[in-house]
Structure formats: C-alpha cells, structure tokens
C-alpha cells in the first residue's frame, strides 16, 4: 500500500524531483569544500615549514592565490544556494523560512568559533613575537655577542702586549747579532717568545719571506705583503692585530725598528670550543636580527593563513549547513506540501518515507497512517451517507408510490414531508405546503392532532370529511407519534381516501334497504291483486248494471298493482346491479337484435341500424349492453311520441355502431323532442327524471352499465349529427377490452353538454302518463 501510494502521490510532492535532479551540482559543492580545506591545510603546512618546500614569499603567495580561488568557488556555490532559498522563499514555498533559519544558525555556529580562534591565535602570535623580540631574550642575545667579542678582544690585548715585549727583546739585542750569529739570535728569539707564552712567532721581511720562526705544529698563514707594506696598518709602534676565529687564532704583526723591513709576526691559537661557541652565538644573533626584521611579515602571513582557514571553514560550514538544511527541510517540506494538499480535501496523499531521516521519517510514517486513517473514515462516512441516501431514496420512492397519503409533521406542527397521494388528497403541491403549519394546510385535522398531542397513546385514528375543489372526500386518518425525541414530538399522518369505500358501503346499505322495501311492498301487492282478480272472476259474470265501471275499477287495481310491482323491481335491480360477465361477443349482432325487437314493437317509427363493422368483436356482457341499448332506443321512441303529431312527420331513429380506437361507440339519434337545454348532466343521476311517473333510474342504469364496461354515456343534440334536425343524440361508449384501462370517470364527460333524453323525459313534459307507463313496461320486457 505504501509503495503504491508513494508512486501515486509523487505528483503531489514537488520537492521530490528537485532532490534527485542535477547530481553534478550535488557532488560539486562537497568537492569544492574538500579542495578548499585541502588547500588551506597545505598552506598551513607549508607556511609552518613542516615540508621541505621553502616558505618563500613566492610560494606563500601562490598558495594564497589558490586559497582565494577555492574560497571564491565556495562563495559562488553559497550564493547559488542562497539565491535558490531566496527564490523559494519569495515564491512562498513551504519551509523556506526554516531553511533560511537553519542555514543562518549553521553559519553563525561555524563562523563564530573560527573567527574567535583566528583572532585569539593572531593575538597569541603577536604576544609571542613581542616576547621574543623584547626584554631578556634580546639582552641575552646581545650579551652573548658582547661576551664573544670581549673574549676576542682580550686575546687580542694579550697578544699585543706579548708582541710588544718580544719586539722590545729583539730590538735590545745588538743588531749584528742577527746578521752574525743567527743561531744565538734564534735562541734568544725563541726564549723571548716562549717566555711570553707565544707558541708561534716569526720574523718576516717585507715580502713575507720567513727569516726566523719558532717551531710549531700548526701552520699559520703569513700576512700578505700588501698589508705589511701598508704603513697605515703596520708600523713600528703599534702592532696590527688580526683575529681569525675561523683559523682559531689571533695574530699580530709589527715592524721592527732596529731592522730594516723586518716584521715580527706572532700568533696564538684560541680555545677551539670557545671559538665555536663564539661563532654560533654570532650566527644566532644574526638570525635573531633577521627575524626581527621580518617580524611583521610573519605576523601578516599567519593572520592571512588563519583568515584563509577561517573563511574556508566558514564557507564549508555554510555549504554543509545548506546541504543539511536541504536534507532536514526536505521531509518537512514534503510533509507541509502533503498537509496543504490534505487541507484541500484530498486525502490520497502519502509522503515518501526515507529511513535515513530518523524522527522525520517516523513523523512521515505517522502522517501517512493519519491520512490513511482519515481516508478510511471518510470513505466509511461517504459509504454510510450513500447508504442512507439510497435508503432515503427508497423510502421516498415508497412514499411517493404509496396509495395512502402520508404527511410528516414536526414538533412545531409544520409540514415536513408530503407524498404525492397526499398532494392529491389535500389539493396542494408539496412545495406550497412545506414548512407551513398543518392547521393551515389541513384544518380538518386539528381535532385529531390535538388528541394526538394531548393523549398518551401513540396512535390516534379517526375519520374526517374534507371539501376540495367542490368534491367531498372521506379520509381515514391515523396519527402516529414519533417519540424519538421527547422534547420535539413529530407525527406521521396517514390519510386513506375512503370516499369510494364509504360510497360503496352506502350503496350496499342502500341496496339492502331497497331489497327490504321491495319485499315489504310486494307482499301486500299479492293479496291486493289476487283480491281484485277474484272479484272480477267471481262477480264479473254476475254484475250486469254498469258492468263497464266494474271492469274498469278492477282493471285499474290490477294494472296499478302491476305498475307498482314493476317500479319496485326496477328500483331493487338498480340497487343491486349484477356484475357484468364479460365475454367475447359481436356488437353488430347485439345491435341488430335490439333494433329488430324495437322495430317490431314500434312499426310506426323508422328504426335503422347502421353497422360500420360487421362483425364487431368486443368483450362485454351482452345482456346488460343489450338492455342498455334497448333502454336508449325506447327513450328515443318516447321522445318521438312526445312530439305533437302535426309537427312530427315520420319518426326516425338511427342506430350506428362503430369502433373508435379502443372504444366501441353506439350512436342513437332520434328526431324526437330532444333533451332539455339545462341540467342535462343531472339526468344521469338516479331518481332524476322530467317525467311524472318516471323512476329516474333508466339512464342511471345505462350509465352504470357503461361505466362497468369502462365507458360512459354522452348526451348530445341531433343537430350536431345532422344540422337542423330536432331531437337527441345519445352516444354509448365502452371499451373494447370491457374495462377501463385509462382513467375515465363515466360521469365527467357526460357533464359537458346537456345530457340526454332519459327515457321518459318528453313524456313527462307532455303529461302523457298512460303511454309512458306502457312503454316502460315494454322496455322492461325487452330488457329481460
């Protein structure tokens, strides 16, 4: 995981490529540092004379030049690094400030000791040289030199006295002795010399030729003639002294007055040890003096050396500091970059972990773990929220598809949620009810809500009736308290539209009542009828007076009983209409038969069937449709009969059957009295009739039959069909499949234009009671 993430996160860590790029540059700086240090050390070594190379001014200068060059090189590197840091800082790169701080601290820590040591060393050297060239040391050297000189002068003074004494001795001897008795003279000369403790003495002429000499192991050089012949140097009163420390002797020469051009030359060897010491002392003193002359040069050289080394170390340490800062800052920078990436919400960040970075590596590891953990938790959260979301969508889908209306009400009584069914029931869209108080949206629920709030039970039920858009709806209401949060109760209100149920219950109850009434009415009808018939049968033969009256009375009783029975039958049939039994049948044939029957019954009217398709197959209850059609045609005949004879002409009824899309359409057009212009829609309602003796059930039954077949009855005027024609146009429409597959309430379309000629409506207007009654009887026969 970590490796994968490292590669994945590489683009997020801009510091990575930089640290790996330009390897030459990385190695150049340490190399330069090494060169600089090496040259500084070499300079030091050479300058301190630890090598065979003579630290001459030329050598030292060239070393200094090399040092300067390396320092300049380092300086170049440093400037480059500093420039980079400054640039980074200017760009606001992460950890640039830390970088600068680390480098600065490093430089200070490295430079301060170097400078301090350099200063201290310089002071020390100065103090040391001061001590060397002043005070006792200088005196000591001078004394040593003085002593050596004094020793020589002493020997010289001694030899002066000796030579003067020997010269005296020789000059006091008679001159001829030298010339005549050279042997005696020589003895005398030797005695005089040895008496003076002169190991060597000789007489020489002006050309340096030996005349007389003592015997001595050591050879002494004779003075050159140019010295002897120089009267400024050699005269007869004062000897000319020569100290020859290299030859380890002092010599003196003097001209002898008693002899012509004869010189006495004596020499005495010095103590070789003393002479050696004397020579060394002189040499040292000379060196000392030279050193003193060079003192400031040395001091400057050392100061320069210190400066070079200090500078080199400073530069090196700055470079090392930069390098170190790079290494130290790099992981921090990675962390900062990663952290800033995380702060933008991207948790897919892992920093590379290098073991060599120690604590920072551990920090990086912890950071990686942290982001990983965060990511895991966030993913879990996201998953959880997705899960919740999908559940919410599911619940919303359930809510919106639920047939029951559901309203969520919060503790303050405002609507929080409202599903589609509820929207329909209360007649408001969800958007216009949300956050509105429930008592505004559905004031009918106030009572129940009050109970729910005050009551202890979780569930409150009840029924309310609401008025929306002129329609009355019966709702079964359940209020469930959600007591998750005791301080803020919320409620779920479930609304079930039980309008249909209530209506069905009503119909059912009404059907029972109707049946019961029918039974109770019919029961007494039997004895009435039987009585009337018995009277007629038994006494009809007997009665002779006013027999017509007798017959009329009994007939009226019997006929009226029959009417009552028929009305009760119709009444109860409507109350419990049989369920249609759908079967595949031929509409054309059904129409043909119905028309044929009515034709037979009403030969005075032209009744024509026009079948657009034959056969015309559909799913329907033949008996019911046939009955409905018969009813309509019968109504048409009555409408025609209601027209005054002088206006009528020939009565005509057209019956047209056709298929229109998925509907079967049967049109019945008559040229009768027509439909009333107002309140036609009401004609479809039960017990509405315009006829005195009509039950008002005929059209209602037809409408209901068609509704059961997924259709309806449409009431129009014949003039819509054939311009100028008087009369009504009834359209029976039902679905081919026998049931409604589209929502089409049967009553609605009927309401458009004034409806229909109910069976008897014209009859009522004309008041032809007996005829109407009669035709009704026929209809029933046909229907049955």
């Amino acid at each position: 995981m970590t490796t994968a993430d490292t590669s994945a996160t590489a683009p997020f860590d801009p510091s990575l490529p930089e640290s790996k790029g330009w390897p030459l540059g990385r190695w150049l700086a340490p190399f330069a540092v090494a060169i600089a240090l090496l040259s500084a050390i070499l300079t030091f070594v050479v300058l301190t004379g630890l090598t065979r190379i003579e630290p001459t001014a030329q050598v030292v200068n060239s070393f200094y030049l090399i040092d300067a060059a390396t320092i300049l090189l380092l300086l170049g590197f440093i400037l480059r690094e500093v420039w980079k840091v400054v640039q980074a800082r200017r760009r606001g790169r992460a950890a640039a400030r830390l970088h600068v701080q680390v480098v600065g601290l490093f430089s200070v820590i490295a430079a301060v000791p170097a400078v301090v040591v350099a200063v201290v060393a310089n002071v020390m050297i100065d103090r040391g040289l001061d001590q060397l060239f002043t005070g006792p040391t200088r005196e000591l050297v001078q004394n040593a030199v003085s002593i050596a000189k004094a020793y020589t002068f002493e020997h010289a003074a001694a030899i002066r006295g000796d030579i003067l004494a020997v010269a005296d001795d020789i000059q006091q001897t008679p001159a001829p002795l030298f010339d005549q008795d050279r042997g005696t003279f020589q003895q005398l000369f030797l005695r005089s010399a040895s008496a003076r403790n002169l190991p060597f003495a000789m007489l020489i002429d002006k050309n340096g030729n030996k005349l007389v000499e003592t015997e001595f192991q050591q050879r002494f050089a004779t003075p050159p003639p140019d010295i002897l012949n120089n009267p400024d140097l050699v005269n007869d009163t004062e000897p000319y002294l020569v100290v020859l420390p290299d030859e380890n002797y002092v010599a003196a020469v003097i001209r002898l007055r008693a002899f012509s051009d004869t010189f006495l030359y004596v020499a005495r060897p010095l103590d070789p040890f003393v002479v050696g010491q004397l020579k060394q002392t002189e040499l040292k003193a000379q060196g000392y003096a030279e050193m003193e002359a060079q003192r400031y040069g040395i001091q400057i050289a050392f100061a320069l050396m210190f400066a070079v080394i200090a500078l080199t170390i400073l530069m090196a340490s700055v470079l090392i500091g930069l390098n170190f800062a790079d290494r130290l800052v790099a992981p921090i920078r990675r962390l900062m970059n990663a952290a800033s990436t995380v702060s933008t919400g991207d948790l897919h960040v892992q920093v590379p972990v290098h073991r060599s970075e120690g604590d920072l590596a551990q920090l990086g590891e912890t950071f990686n773990k942290m982001t990983q953990e965060l990511r895991t938790q966030r993913d879990e959260l996201v998953n959880a929220s997705e899960l919740i979301d999908s559940r919410r969508r599911f619940i919303e889908a359930v809510l919106s598809s639920a047939s029951a209306g559901i309203i969520g009400v919060d503790g303050s009584g405002s609507v929080g949620i409202l599903n589609r069914s509820a929207e329909k029931l209360i007649g408001h869209a969800e958007s216009e009810t949300l956050d509105h108080p429930l008592s505004d949206v559905l004031p009918e629920l106030d009572e129940l809500m009050k109970n729910a709030r005050e009551g202890k039970q979780r569930l409150v039920q009840g029924q309310v009736t609401i008025q929306r858009d002129g329609q009355e709806r019966n709702l079964s209401v359940r209020v469930t308290a959600e007591q998750n949060n005791p301080s803020r109760d919320s409620y779920i209100i479930t609304l079930d539209d039980i309008t249909e149920l209530v209506s069905a219950q009503r119909t059912s109850a009404w059907g029972d009542v109707a049946r019961r009434i029918a039974h109770e009415i019919k029961n007494p009808l039997t004895p009435i009828q039987l009585s009337a018939e018995r009277i007629r049968r038994k006494f009809g033969r007997v009665i002779t007076d006013d027999k017509a009256v007798f017959e009329q009375c009994t007939d009226t009783i019997i006929r009226q009983v029959d009417d009552i029975r028929r009305m009760v039958d119709e009444f109860s049939r409507f109350a419990r209409m049989p369920k249609p039994v759908m079967e595949g049948e031929d509409v054309a044939d059904t129409v043909r038969q119905a028309v044929f029957l009515m034709k037979v019954a009403h030969s005075e009217i032209d009744i024509e069937a026009e079948l657009k398709q034959d056969p015309l197959r559909a799913q329907f209850d033949r008996r019911l449709i046939s009955q409905a059609l018969t009813n309509i045609i019968k109504n048409a005949t009555e409408a025609i009969e209601a027209v005054p004879a002088e206006e009528l002409g020939r009565g005509r009824i057209d019956v047209i059957a056709a298929r229109e899309n998925n509907d079967i359409i049967i049109d019945v057009i008559d040229n009768g009295i027509g439909l009333p212009k107002v309140a036609r829609a009401r004609l479809l309602e039960p017990y509405v009739t315009t006829r005195e003796k009509g039950t008002g059930l005929g059209l209602a039954i037809v409408g209901r039959v068609l509704e059961d077949h997924g259709g309806r009855i449409e009431l129009k005027d014949a003039s819509d069909f054939r311009p100028g024609q008087r009369g009504a146009w009834m359209r029976l429409r039902f679905a081919v499949s026998g049931h409604a597959d589209k929502v089409e309430a049967g009553a609605e379309p009927a309401g458009d234009k004034p409806p229909a000629s109910e069976k008897m409506q014209p009859a009522a207007e004309t008041g032809k009671v007996a005829e109407a009654t009669h035709s009704e009887t026929n209809i029933e026969a046909a229907g049955n």
Partner: protein
C-alpha cells in the same frame, strides 16, 4: 279427480285468497299457517298438491326445510313454492329439492290456476305410475 290442495303460508290474506280462488275453480282446499300445522294436515290426509311459502315466518321449519320433509315422506306429492320476490337462487334451490314449480309474488290468478292444473295432472301421472 284429485283436487285436494293444501296451502301453507304464514300470511293469512294470501292463504285465504289462494284458497278462495281455487275454491271458485272447484278445487278442495285446506290451509296451514305454519310448518307444524302443515305437517299435521299432511299426516292426517295426504293432499294431492301443496302450495308452500318459502318464507314461513314464526315457524319451526322454513319452506325449504318443510319441502325436504315432504319430499322425504311423500316423494310423489307435487309441491309448488311461493316466494316473496324474485330470487333465482331460492327458486333453483327449491326445484333442486324436488319442487314442481314456483310462483313469484305477486302472481296473477291465471298463473295460479294454470300451475295448479298442471301440477295436479303431473301428480296424477306419477301416482298412476
């Protein structure tokens, strides 16, 4: 000629009227107001035809039960059921139980006489057989 007819109906008016009409036509009639008295009448003398109301109010047995009892004891005795109002199920049940026919109230005298004549003829046939 067999003309002994028993009329069983809880309603006195109907009972008496049916009996009167049939009397007028020359039949011999007896009447019973409940199942017990009807059973007693049948037991005392087996009639040739029984008119039986389906709904015998305040009786031990209703019409259909009484019909089953009669059919059990006198399989050949024709029984015509009288029903209060159109009820196909009841009629079917009655025919299945062995009733000869049924008449729906209100019925006309002609139908009553017609059914009586046919039922008696059938009863005679079955008796002869």
């Amino acid at each position: 000629m067999a003309n002994d007819i028993l009329i069983v109906d809880d309603e006195a008016d109907i009972r008496e009227l049916v009996a009167g009409i049939l009397d007028d036509e020359g039949f011999t009639t007896r009447t019973a107001g409940d199942s017990d008295s009807a059973s007693a009448e049948i037991a005392s003398r087996k009639p040739d035809l029984v008119f039986l109301d389906i709904w015998l109010q305040g009786s031990k047995l209703d019409g259909l039960q009484l019909l089953e009892e009669i059919k059990r004891d006198h399989a050949g005795l024709p029984v015509v059921m009288i029903s209060g109002h159109g009820n196909i199920e009841t009629a079917v049940a009655a025919i299945k139980s062995g009733a000869f026919d049924f008449m729906e109230k209100p019925f006309k005298s002609e139908r009553l006489i017609l059914v009586t004549t046919r039922a008696l003829a059938q009863g005679q046939q079955s008796a002869a057989a």
